[in-house]
Symmetry: C2
Subunit: 364 residues, 2 copies
Amino acid sequence: MRELTVDLGDRSYPIYFGEGLIQQAGQLFTKHGITSKSPLLIVTDEHVAPHYLSNLESAFAASGYRTASYIVPAGEKSKSLSQLEEIVTVALEAGLDRSSTVIALGGGVVGDLAGFVAASYMRGVKFVQIPTTILAHDSSVGGKVGVNHVLAKNIIGAFHQPEMVLYDLNTLRSLPYREIVAGLSEMIKHGLIWDAEFIAWLDEHTQHLLTLEPEALSYGLYQGCNVKSIVVSRDERENDLRAILNLGHTIGHALEAVSGYNELLHGEAISIGMVGSAKLAVHLGYDASIYHETKRILSKFGLPTQIPTHLNVDQIMNAMMHDKKFKEGSMVFVVPIAIGQVEILKDVSAQLVRQVVMELKEDV
Amino acid sequence: MRELTVDLGDRSYPIYFGEGLIQQAGQLFTKHGITSKSPLLIVTDEHVAPHYLSNLESAFAASGYRTASYIVPAGEKSKSLSQLEEIVTVALEAGLDRSSTVIALGGGVVGDLAGFVAASYMRGVKFVQIPTTILAHDSSVGGKVGVNHVLAKNIIGAFHQPEMVLYDLNTLRSLPYREIVAGLSEMIKHGLIWDAEFIAWLDEHTQHLLTLEPEALSYGLYQGCNVKSIVVSRDERENDLRAILNLGHTIGHALEAVSGYNELLHGEAISIGMVGSAKLAVHLGYDASIYHETKRILSKFGLPTQIPTHLNVDQIMNAMMHDKKFKEGSMVFVVPIAIGQVEILKDVSAQLVRQVVMELKEDV
Ligand SMILES: NC(=O)c1ccc[n+]([C@@H]2O[C@H](COP(=O)([O-])OP(=O)(O)OC[C@H]3O[C@@H](n4cnc5c(N)ncnc54)[C@H](O)[C@@H]3O)[C@@H](O)[C@H]2O)c1
Ligand SMILES: NC(=O)c1ccc[n+]([C@@H]2O[C@H](COP(=O)([O-])OP(=O)(O)OC[C@H]3O[C@@H](n4cnc5c(N)ncnc54)[C@H](O)[C@@H]3O)[C@@H](O)[C@H]2O)c1
Ligand SMILES: [Zn+2]
Ligand SMILES: [Zn+2]
């Protein structure tokens, strides 16, 4: 079992990486002083529940914990205030009190939703994440929780750090292959923004990761969380440094919006976005190898590096301008200046971004 | 203009008490460094808006602030997730960003709702309260914000301290008399739990307060906020001391629940509850004068001191047991041990409480 401490003063917490952690959940809760006097609430989704919910419930029961469970439909739509309201109904009926803990068993959707329940139920109760996707290594560090509004994603939420995170590698075996690949995109991002050695390691272990080889998976998730954790520790409330985590996200979010959130997975969209940022870097005079390396490593993982040809450049530009409310003609952009190093550039010309978007579509 | 600082380290904030503060709102915002680059959002209710909204909007406009406004129906029902969602729609349409401020113009309902919007919009923006009821002197200190769920009041929320509070005494002139009296009940509570001198002052200035004489009103609100502020500063997250603020609330909440939340105002219900606590004190061996004094001062303000005869004792007891999930046969109770001093007793017998409830009904 690997362990990482996310260092946030009196809100610090451990992330455990290992096989079979679900079976040990009850013991780990006891070890961390989580009371069995108050009931626990497990939030999960309909894809995850059939595989792991009853195991988790049994593990808790064996350690003397009472649990209630709630299963949301799979997918982004469940990050809503109406799901929050439903979950609070269940919490009240199960008698959750201020000493209770809310548990997210699932990917980033369940994590964000259950985390916001934990942040707001009785003005805040304990929260534990049991992530079941690779992408959720990203969402399990940083404490951002929340739900969507019809007009904007992640707009209603809080900062609420978990008590701990249990990353049971076995749960990833049931994850669809496309979700595995998309999740690795954020892992590669963590290398690209901070850690050239990690990129070299990812390059060497591509196949081990794609086949979920436990030792490689454990280290990759650990190191991905580690990079995010370092960044978040230095800027918990997103005042400056934390923005580097948005590498690839400006273009990526625009692509998700324009393609209607069903064509591209988030990790796929930001893969294209990261290639775009690397292209931008080269246009701004940085070494051409940044672009070639970024593109090579993402392609090696089977991630897309090109904008689907049917998407419209004007619409993509509009989505970007709207999303971030850029000032006339200039944009804030996270740009790689070497592999493993980025800078936040405050006034990249929108014209240049447009050119990059066009090139990304034509793959030149 | 009086000023009080609520002392919470780097979350400290001022409360201003004075006549005509709404007209000065723009200047006060500028003085406190609130940017005019980002739009403000004013949340108010349909009783308050016709009197004060356009004045407030003009004051902001005169100081170069852009504002959007949203008017909720008056009453407790507006403390809901669906109102939150509506307000977020308005916020997004008005272009509120992370540097924006949400303003509550109204009583405790608007304060709790708008405060939770501020706590959760983009994971937290600035919040300013402009209370328009006397009861809201209580809700403007302590940072508790939130909404109701059909099954439980105030169950979804956050701790979110305001940037400042502008108590414009002029707004209280349009408040219905019954609301004035009910609001004074919480002011008396602040005396009863902490400050015998303040009780003596309240005794002397009863008429001045009931007629909203500005100097008395200003001092009474100031001192009420001051007591709450001292308690909250010592226990911001409600771990122990803060519970003394619940004097009268255990019985009071039960009365509100049993009478269906439309017969008794909150201040009226806790007035009866405070008399109950004083009765309990006497049964526990404390001086009989505690009961007589408590009852006398509340009556002098025209507050009820007796349970309406048609309410059922069993139902009241059930509501109490359910509300606080008391352990078998014993209850936690805030009990006055002198005028201006209370204790939290951990195992008051439910039987004794039942007797007190019966006596409160028969007014013996
Ligand atoms: N809070 C943060 O800091 C943060 C960071 C990144 C992403 N996010 C959020 O995370 C969400 C995306 O996360 P995600 O990609 O994990 O999405 P997800 O939770 O929707 O999971 C993806 C899909 O895989 C299924 N699934 C999950 N685990 C499975 C398993 N073990 N076996 C089989 N199927 C499984 C899910 O049901 C879903 O269909 C977005 O809402 C995004 O906003 C949040
Ligand atoms: N957050 C806290 O710490 C805290 C503390 C105490 C109470 N509260 C909450 O406060 C709420 C009760 O507050 P309240 O008594 O102010 O209720 P309220 O906001 O509903 O106001 C009472 C009534 O007076 C009207 N009104 C308000 N100001 C007026 C004015 N100046 N002129 C004319 N009419 C006016 C309102 O429209 C309403 O009909 C409850 O929801 C309670 O839970 C919160
Ligand atoms: Zn992302
Ligand atoms: Zn009260």
